[in-house]
């Protein structure tokens, strides 16, 4: 007999990384769910922003919502704020939270392992492919929101969260930077999704893990937690981007938030990687287990939160909720001065500078029997300023609703000519009164100024 099988044995060599990545990407993009998400992310925000911007009733409860008919950049930020609350965690759940579980559902692990010959490469290519799809989705949300806003309202200056005006170019750069910053927590949630997908197999709980985490963290952010705990949560950068829209930018919480997100992304990915490499793929009935998830996923991440809280508590000066009377007064006075100039320009009055106005604020929370710190809607402030050449000191009253994340809404309480009415009469007709209601942001991690 003669041999026809003459090839020498080929050495054990895993499949190349690039084709593996392309294969994983093709699998993801061939799913109707992903295609619909891409379509929705690239189209829906534009439609939403354009439609809302043209209405008289604006989503004032959302940061920058009240400016949607003033500048196109506000729409992109409303989309960003909404995305940070719900859309991005959900997207990570639907993409990264299913990327490993899908193989369990289809029963394709053995096929894939035989083809690729390296669980490590499978993990890396799946992670990269899901990250690519997520980036496409986030890019769609950002681009679509910007396009919708610019098309409907135009490329106009944007009032920041301390009232200062950003020129269109600066607004564009800052909006882009804000979107880039939220990529960090998005990747952290995606890593949690990968972990859930690996740990829980075909169980739908794996898919829900990022969404569930987002819900829990959202609830936590609503509570008056100590600022060190708040900053140590992986969704803190989903909120801290707002600090980019003050002058100077409140970079402390944002940088800490990004760092925490990166640590979470690395930790969750490492846990998922470890679990994946230890998995027995000959066990067809594998469906994850509650004990495994608790031991291998939940406990390490809970320990990470504790560790991060400790580090932040030691490294930052802020204590308690981070909402202090002094910080609030400074923030309110600054915002008032900036917006007063904006009102002055609307009314075609002689321009004044913030320094000339010398605005100051005096705040009190809930009367004399309540400590002047912490979130609540019972803050009452009086802003004082004076005009150059005038001896009288002007004053205006504001009711402040301060939330635990440092955002506040200042609601003008008079006098009517200054901040008591939602419109002002300009030579060109009625226009929105920038001093009537406005948003502000307190840097929770800043040290308390001396009163």
């Amino acid at each position: 007999m003669t041999a026809t099988v003459t090839q020498p044995p080929v050495g054990v060599r895993p499949a190349p990384m690039l084709p593996g990545y392309r294969f994983e990407l093709a699998k993801l993009l061939s799913q109707w769910r992903i295609r619909l998400l891409l379509l929705a992310c690239w189209i829906a925000p534009a439609g939403f922003v354009a439609a809302v911007s043209l209405q008289s009733s604006l989503p004032a409860d959302t940061v920058f919502g009240r400016w949607m008919n003033a500048t196109g950049w506000a729409g992109a930020l409303v989309v960003l704020d909404f995305s940070c609350s719900w859309a991005l965690p959900l997207l990570t759940a639907l993409v990264a939270g299913d990327v490993f579980a899908a193989e369990d559902r289809l029963g394709t692990w053995r096929h894939l392992l035989v083809a690729v010959r390296s669980p490590r490469r499978i993990f890396v290519t799946k992670g990269l492919a899901s990250l690519t799809v997520l980036l496409l989705l986030v890019a769609g949300l950002a681009a679509s929101g910007v396009i919708g806003g610019l098309a409907a309202v135009g490329n106009r200056p944007l009032a920041g969260l301390d009232g200062h005006l950003l020129a269109p170019a600066d607004a564009a750069a800052t909006v882009l930077l804000a979107w880039l910053c939220v990529l960090a927590p998005t990747v952290a949630f995606a890593a949690v999704g990968l972990l859930g997908s690996v740990a829980l197999g075909r169980s739908p709980m794996g898919l829900l893990m990022p969404a569930l985490l987002a819900l829990v963290l959202q609830l936590a952010q609503l509570l008056p937690l100590p600022v060190a705990v708040r900053a140590a949560l992986p969704n803190s950068a989903f909120i801290a981007w707002r600090g980019l829209f003050t002058s100077p930018a409140q970079t402390g919480p944002l940088l800490i938030g990004i760092a925490v997100s990166v640590v979470w992304a690395v930790a969750a990915t490492a846990l998922a990687y470890r679990l994946f490499l230890r998995r027995d793929f000959t066990d067809l009935a594998y469906d994850g287990s509650g004990r495994r998830v608790v031991v291998a996923a939940v406990l390490p991440l809970a320990a990470l939160v504790v560790l991060t809280v400790g580090v932040i508590a030691v490294a930052t000066p802020a204590t308690g909720s981070g909402i202090e009377k002094g910080k609030l007064q400074d923030s309110l006075a600054t915002a008032y001065a900036h917006l007063y100039r904006l009102q002055t320009r609307e009314l075609h009055r002689p321009d004044v500078t913030e320094a000339q106005l010398g605005a100051s604020a005096s705040c009190d929370k809930g009367g004399s029997r309540v400590l002047d710190r912490g979130p609540g809607n019972d803050w009452r402030c009086v802003v004082s300023w004076h005009l150059p050449g005038a001896s009288a000191v002007g004053s205006a009253i504001y009711q402040l609703d301060v939330t635990a994340d440092g955002r506040y809404v200042a609601d003008g309480d008079g006098p009517k000519e200054v901040n008591g009415y939602f419109q002002v009469r300009t030579p060109a007709g009625d226009a929105p009164n920038p001093l009537w209601q406005f948003d502000g942001n307190v840097d929770l991690l800043a040290s308390t100024p001396k009163e």
Partner: protein
């Protein structure tokens, strides 16, 4: 058997392989030799360790003990089998949202082998008879079509060892023909094929050697012809022109006895007679029937020799008659599956 080089080591050489899952010993000292150019059947009752053994051959798991050489290379860790090994266990892994061609093209792109690019994909599809549905999504494929596509995926790698688990599951006669032709062709070209199946007719048609596993141990390994000898006395079913006379003659034939009780085949023909005995005794009965002027319309073993041996060796605890009953039911189910497959294929064609 295909052309082989006798000087070469076998495609698979396993000695004393053990594998346990917790307290359960899935494989307990298994020896296996599969030569190049050979289609080797692997049979055994459920839980015998077939899937575990196939998983070891594909590199999906590593043995706890013993020595395993695949294509001349010792295998000591997971996914460390040499290139040239392909196949599937527990069904082919396919992605329903991709087309047949996309599934194969993606696999080809991962290849550590020369898959021949698009031509290789086309050839593989052609070999399993799926060229006309190449652009259809696998979501709409029947079980049989998926099996054939899984085989095509394995063919892409130009395997020297092909490991297949129940490749004929859900196949209609045409699909079965394709699969048999492909497997036989591979063996003829020198590749080794390890085939696990519960379909004894498939094994009998394709395999030159079989290994029977029971509770993790090898109870038989060798040529099919030798296995037939293990089967001992077989049951034969006769259809004659005079059932009463045939019954009487069978009772009078030395070494032969009429199998009492219900014959499952009577569902099809109430006149059937089942006898048990060695082949010479059956020959004698035929002679007596002819002399008595009784026409013999049909004479066939109730179960194939390989199946009878399987039942005898594994102690499956069912009689050949029960096996026949089960097989009849299986054939009916297979017919339904084949029909479903054909319907699905027709749907595909209609969609196109």
């Amino acid at each position: 058997m295909g052309k082989v080089d006798e000087n070469r080591s076998p495609a698979v050489r396993a000695r004393g392989i053990t594998k346990s899952f917790g307290d359960v010993a899935a494989l307990d000292g298994v020896d296996l030799d599969v030569a190049y150019g050979q289609v080797h059947g692997l049979v055994g009752p459920n839980g015998a360790g077939k899937t575990t053994l196939l998983g070891l051959l594909l590199g999906l798991a590593v043995a706890d003990g013993g020595r395993l050489e695949i294509l001349g290379t010792p295998v000591g860790r997971t996914l460390a089998v040499p290139g040239g090994v392909a196949g599937f266990v527990d069904g082919p892994g396919l992605y329903p949202s991709l087309t047949a061609r996309q599934n194969l093209a993606a696999l080809a792109s991962l290849g550590r082998y020369d898959a021949g690019g698009a031509t290789g994909v086309d050839d593989a599809l052609e070999q399993v008879g799926l060229s006309d549905v190449a652009e259809d999504r696998v979501r709409g494929f029947s079980l049989g079509m998926r099996q054939r596509l899984g085989l095509a995926a394995a063919l892409l790698t130009k395997p020297r060892l092909l490991v297949l688990d129940e490749p004929a599951n859900g196949l209609d006669p045409a699909g079965k023909h394709h699969v048999h032709r492909v497997i036989a062709g591979l063996a003829a070209n020198g590749a080794a094929v390890v085939l696990s199946s519960h379909r004894m007719d498939d094994l009998a048609a394709l395999c030159s050697e079989v290994t029977i596993l029971a509770t993790g141990r090898v109870v038989f390994s060798g040529p099919v012809s030798k296995l037939a000898a293990e089967s001992g006395e077989l049951d034969y079913r006769l259809l004659t022109s005079d059932p009463a006379a045939a019954h009487r003659l069978a009772s009078e034939t030395p070494g032969l006895r009429v199998v009492p009780g219900r014959d499952p085949a009577q569902r099809l023909d109430a006149d059937a007679l089942v006898v048990r005995g060695p082949v010479p005794a059956v020959d004698e009965l035929v002679v007596r029937l002819v002399r008595a002027g009784v026409a013999l319309r049909e004479l066939a073993p109730v179960v194939t020799p390989i199946e009878a041996a399987f039942l005898a060796l594994t102690g499956a605890g069912i009689t050949p008659a029960q096996a026949q009953e089960e097989r009849t039911g299986q054939q009916e189910r297979t017919g339904q599956e084949a029909q479903t497959g054909q319907e699905a294929q027709t749907d595909q064609e209609n969609l196109r």
